[in-house]
């Protein structure tokens, strides 16, 4: 049965984009609409559409202003919305190994303290989360994963730490990230993965699609070394 159509607001961006907004605050229904519209636009892009960027509550549709315009794009988008398949999109499930060796998780004790839990309980809570790729942003390949269990949700640190290595597993509030570059971050560093979100594979350069699911799996230092070596040896 078709669900009633969610209300969408259209906003013109400069000469080359339209923002389709489903809500002012993040909620499940709005984000499902984002995923559904994104899929419809990727499957059959309207004439002139050059890029589709899904975010939390809206989708940005970039177009070639020499080919189409805001009015035509709005008409195309309204037609897509009418025919939208709201069936929850089942994204690919990824199992991502994480090593929680002490040197990889400088903030684990702080998170444990804040949560009033042991470090092992924090690790188990982190492993127990069902994560979903909400959107990309900030830096190339930075996939924001929603799903950090409430007991271990901690705010951003007041001061960013510099030179955090790539593949660090970091959390802030309900979100988790696997870093792709050496960078400063105010998020809590609680582990290290062996998985590169920027895969280096030209056929599939980014590991996740928006809407995909992620489960973390604990590995020990020996497995970490083995998997890292495998990855560098190709």
């Amino acid at each position: 049965m078709a669900k009633p159509m969610i209300k969408a607001e259209f906003k013109a961006i400069a000469d080359h984009a339209m923002l389709v907004q489903f809500a002012k605050e993040l909620n499940e229904e709005a984000h499902h609409a984002v995923l559904a519209l994104d899929k419809a636009l990727i499957d059959t892009p309207p004439i002139g559409v050059t890029e589709v960027i899904p975010a939390l509550v809206n989708v940005l549709v970039d177009f070639d202003p020499l080919v189409t315009d805001h009015q035509k794009i709005e008409t195309d988008l309204r037609a897509k919305l009418k025919a939208l398949d709201h069936a929850a999109r089942v994204g690919t499930m990824h199992r991502v190994p994480v090593c929680y060796e002490a040197s990889f998780c400088p903030d684990l004790s702080h998170v444990a303290q804040r949560a009033g839990m042991s470090e092992d309980a924090v690790i188990n809570a982190h492993l127990g989360g069902d994560y979903r790729v909400l959107m990309y942003g900030f830096a190339p390949g930075f996939a924001y994963l929603a799903g950090v269990p409430r007991p271990i949700q901690v705010p951003r640190k007041p001061t960013p730490v510099r030179d955090v290595p790539e593949c660090s597993v970091i959390i802030a509030g309900p979100q988790c990230l696997i870093t792709t570059l050496i960078m400063p971050t105010g998020w809590s560093i609680i582990g290290r993965s062996t998985v590169q979100t920027l895969t280096g594979d030209s056929d599939r350069p980014f590991l996740f699609d928006v809407g995909d699911q992620v489960q973390f799996e604990r590995i020990d230092m020996a497995s970490f070394d083995r998997l890292t070596k495998q990855a560098t040896d190709g």
Partner: protein
Amino acid sequence: MADAQLYVRFAGPLVTLQDAGRPGHMRFGVPASGPMDRLSFAAAHAALGNPAGQTCVEVSLGGVELECREGDVTLAITGGEFVVNHNGRKSTGWTVVTLHTGDRISVRSGASGSWAYLACSGIIASDTWLDQSATHASSGFGGGALHAGQTLAVRDARVSPDREGAVAPYTQDVKDPFRVVIGPQEECFAPGVADVFTLETFKVSDAYDRMGMRLVGPGLTLNGSLSIPSEPIVRGSVQVSGDGVPTVLLADHQTTGGYPKIATVISCDIDRLVQTRAGQPIQFEAVPADRAIAIVRAEALARDLYLHDIGVPRGTLEQRLFRENLIHGVFDP
């Protein structure tokens, strides 16, 4: 056709290799990057008769100095008003010159402008990321930043005497206001703030790099909500941080962010905007979205004509002298 080797004697910060950019990956957090001033980049290639979009050197205010260690190659330098010094002969950019083995050329900041483009008759060999050489400056992905001591190999280097000489810059006035479409979060601002943004004068601050340009000017007061759910950003988005300070996001922009946006600069005005410098006053002018499309379409036609015109070879020196003599009526064989 042979190869030429260009040795980098000096490169300032933010001197990078750039091709036309890698659009299509914003959904994965990757901005298009590519030249800050896309028109001057296109002009450099047009002036050499190159296919559009090849790799070139984007020169920042830091400047660059190259030495031809092997082979011969014709170069075009466009963008801003930079000082070009070719073996001691100085000119103010917008020029096509030929480097022979042993020649040196420097491109340094001049009277105005923030970015220059140095293109070669031939193909600059470069690392690529996602099939493009465009450098994403903060990660270094792509062709990367130039550094002293490295050598740029130019494959199939050509010498094109018929293209040497001055290149006409595109006619545009840096003092004209930069056109924007207001929104998409104008409702996040106190009443009248959109008018403040378009009526008042701002200054470019020194917090200016390939990611964006922070402005100094009247505070753009937010209406309570200091952030919004993170949403997509485009090149030209004007985001306003909680302290009311606007930043125009540019070639290496983040692809999503949670600061409200007061406006977006229309695409064809960004080339002019990036050539401003710290301290320079700038103004914005609001246009409706349909007008923005009309402006960009008219501008695209004008730019195509311009690029075509500067792409016509002037002929060899002999042919040019012959033509000049005919025109001036003193041809005497």
